[in-house]
Amino acid sequence: MFGESARALCKRKRNEFKSGSVAMASVDKGKSTKKQKYDRQLRLWGDHGQDALENAHVCLINACATGTEILKNLVLPAFTIVDGHKVSGDDAGNNFFLTKSSIGRNRAQAATELLQELNNDVSGNFVEESPDKLLDNDPDFFCRFSLVIAVHLPESTILCLAAFLWGAGVPLLVCRTYGLIGYMRLVVKEHTVVESHPDNALENLRLDHPFPELKKHIQSYALENMEKRDHSHTPWIIVMAKYLEKWRSEHNSRCLRAIQKKKLFENLFDKISSGVDELLQDENSKNIKAQVFINQVEEDIGKLKSCVNSLLQENGLVVNVKDDYIHEFCR
């Protein structure tokens, strides 16, 4: 049973907090050391991403080399290793988190010790049990985790585990390595991506339908009368919008497909901006062309709704799209 066999091994070295201001100072110092330590990854996913990682609790089933490598890279979240096996000579030979002295001991416990040693901020636990037994006797054990990683499990166990986790809404990562081949499969019902930090965001600026204040602002620039220096310091959006206006006045946009329009526009832009060196060195210049989408807005909501519905059906999804969702989406 989980209650009896699970022995939490929390080796968390914390500074002893004395009272009042000393404690505060310790907390602040701890916080700033953490910011220093995790600086390089904070730059990737920010404070919220970091918090999410620190508050996660990951379950690894089977502390073989593939599994311990995953935990090594994660480092931050609390982890629990479920493994009923004893460490063999083979295991100790290919796993950085097992040694000769681990041989014969429970693999979950031995690996937890050396993984725990990586980072004092982290709490590691182990359960000396086979996942089959847990699934039989106490499947709810798995509900506490943010993610379960199953390494080298036989199919029967995976199927059982996967069915349970699907119902419990816990994501499952199935992994296997064999010689120079490996695979991983992520099983998650729905995953929301928020606060992403993309390298190059392709934003649809809707420059073909500028809002009134923007239109007025664009009109206040007279590019033809500008000195080269002023021209090259004009925000590129203004330049883009101007040329877009010019292009549309020269072309009847009705009969061309979107991709053709885009190509024609790009050619005109290239011709005119070839003399403008500094503009093209601008931090966003490489995205300029990609960011202009010449929108074709369908004004009939009814048409839109049936179009979206049929698209979803084509892809095997039975969804009845609500009117207010369409309004919200297309706003």
């Binding site: 390089r40 990737l44 080399a65 000579g89 083979d90 030979g93 950085f96 041989i103 993309p198 310091h233």
Partner: protein, 462 residues
């Protein structure tokens, strides 16, 4: 360092060293145990559908890895730690590691061989200690030095070189070094002079790994244009029309610091000094307020000043694993190596792609083709200098140009030594004719990007 040794000598030396370690440390165990190499043996002692067509299973490959094969790991940072772990677990027991850096707190999120107590110590030393302790029998020899501190006699001893560097200049240098070890007989490359170079690089969620067989496949310089240009903002933007918080920070770094010398005359801005960064941060904030720009933070300031590249454990793990696998394949000849360039990106989902980078016919590093310089005889030396630094295939940093004029070796321009720079600076505004250079003249150019001087042939266009 030692010359290339015969296998028997090396084996004895490894044994001696192991014994010495056991005596010294007392608790260190150097013996193998039952089943230790069973996983590796499965790769080397039986045939399979993925083995190299010429591969014959035997016990000799494993013995070669364990006793003889000597690998050089350059860099003991994010990639280096992973590489050392991977190679040691695979059975490589003679590993040298070079790293000129010491451990910083910000390394601890991914360089897992280091602990808070190690901060300030040389990376190479700590990494070697950790691996030697965890993997009995493995001997990692650390070198707390720059790669440029060693010459060809050092590099010649290795069977394979694998890099986890954070600098393109360093990559080009080691690339050039391995090229210089190649020997040609009657124009034919001697295969035994080839030392394969496996190179890995990472940046945030992106990474790449490549296999270079010097003299045979594309080298670092062949594909120099693949590296994205460094982001440098135009000076007029920084000086008078800033729009981004980065512009404010660059203004303080480039213009305000040298003018105000806040920590003393001639004290250079040190990105690792929090007081320096704090000063830059405050001044950048003031400028940002002036131009109504938001977004200046301490973290951004540090990032811009130090040109910090974000880094995370997982990308380093993937790229190092790829590199270590290639080292294993080449050392064992058991599997077909990567041919020859892999890119990896898991920002959005997971993307990877492999292609064969092609050699450049007139590569300044690896082709035997003499390099040409074509200028009018009335062109100024400055133009030649600009060409050497700006040309995308050359991208030299601080080239020093010498030539033989009237039978004497003449330094035309050198900027890395202040006194010589001052003396030769007037030459930059002289014409090539005035400097006494003739048609067909050879110019020798030295630069940090290569251990050997590059010879250029000067042709006059008019």
């Amino acid at each position: 360092m030692a010359d290339v040794e015969e296998p028997e000598k090396k084996r004895r030396r490894v044994e001696e060293l192991s014994e010495k370690m056991a005596v010294d440390s007392g608790c260190r165990d150097t013996g193998d145990w039952e089943g230790r190499w069973n996983h590796v043996k499965k790769f080397l002692e039986r045939a399979g559908p993925f083995t190299h067509p010429d591969f014959e299973p035997s016990t000799e490959s494993l013995q070669f890895l364990l006793d003889t094969c000597k690998v050089l790991v350059i860099g003991a940072g994010g990639l280096g730690c992973e590489l050392l772990k991977n190679l040691a677990l695979t059975g490589f027991r003679q590993i040298h590691v070079i790293d000129m850096d010491t451990i910083d707190v910000s390394n601890l999120n991914r360089q897992f061989l280091f602990r808070p107590k190690d901060v300030g110590r040389p990376k190479a030393d700590v990494a070697a200690e950790f691996v030697n302790n965890r993997i009995p029998g493995c001997i990692v020899v650390p070198h707390f030095q720059k790669i440029q501190d060693f010459d060809d006699s050092f590099y010649r001893q290795f069977h394979i070189v694998v890099c986890g560097l954070d600098s393109i200049i360093a990559r080009r240098w080691i690339n050039g070094m391995l090229m210089s070890l190649l020997s040609y007989e009657d124009g034919v490359l001697d295969p035994s002079s080839i030392i394969p170079l496996i190179d890995g690089g990472t940046e945030g969620f992106k990474g790449n790994a490549r296999v270079i067989l010097p003299g045979m496949t594309a080298c670092i310089d062949c594909t120099l244009e693949l590296y994205p240009p460094q982001v440098n903002f135009p000076m007029c933007t920084i000086a008078s029309m800033p729009r981004l918080p980065e512009h404010c920070i660059e203004y303080v770094r480039i213009l305000q610091w040298p003018k105000e010398n806040p920590f003393g005359e001639g004290v250079v801005l040190d990105g690792d000094d929090p007081e320096h960064i704090q000063w830059v941060f405050q001044k950048s904030l003031e400028r940002a307020v002036q131009f109504k720009i938001t977004g200046v933070t301490y973290r951004l300031t540090q990032g811009v000043v130090k040109r910090i590249i974000p880094a995370v454990a997982s990308t380093n793990a993937v790229i190092a694993a790829t590199c270590a696998t290639e080292v294993f394949k080449i050392a064992s000849s058991a599997y077909i190596p990567l041919n020859n360039y892999l890119v990896f990106n898991d920002v959005d989902g997971l993307y990877t792609y492999t292609f064969e980078a092609e050699r450049k016919e007139n590569c300044s590093a690896c082709s035997q083709v003499p390099q040409k310089l074509q200028f009018s005889s009335s062109a100024k030396l400055q133009e030649v200098l600009d060409y050497l630094t700006e040309n995308t295939s050359l991208q030299m940093k601080t080239p020093a140009i010498t030539a033989t004029v009237d039978g004497k070796n003449k330094t035309l321009y050198l900027q890395t030594v202040a006194s010589i720079e001052e003396r030769t600076r007037p030459n930059l505004s002289r014409t090539l004719k005035e400097l006494g250079l003739a048609e067909g003249q050879e110019l020798a150019v030295a630069d940090v990007t290569t251990p050997q001087t590059v010879l250029f042939k000067l042709n006059f266009t008019s």
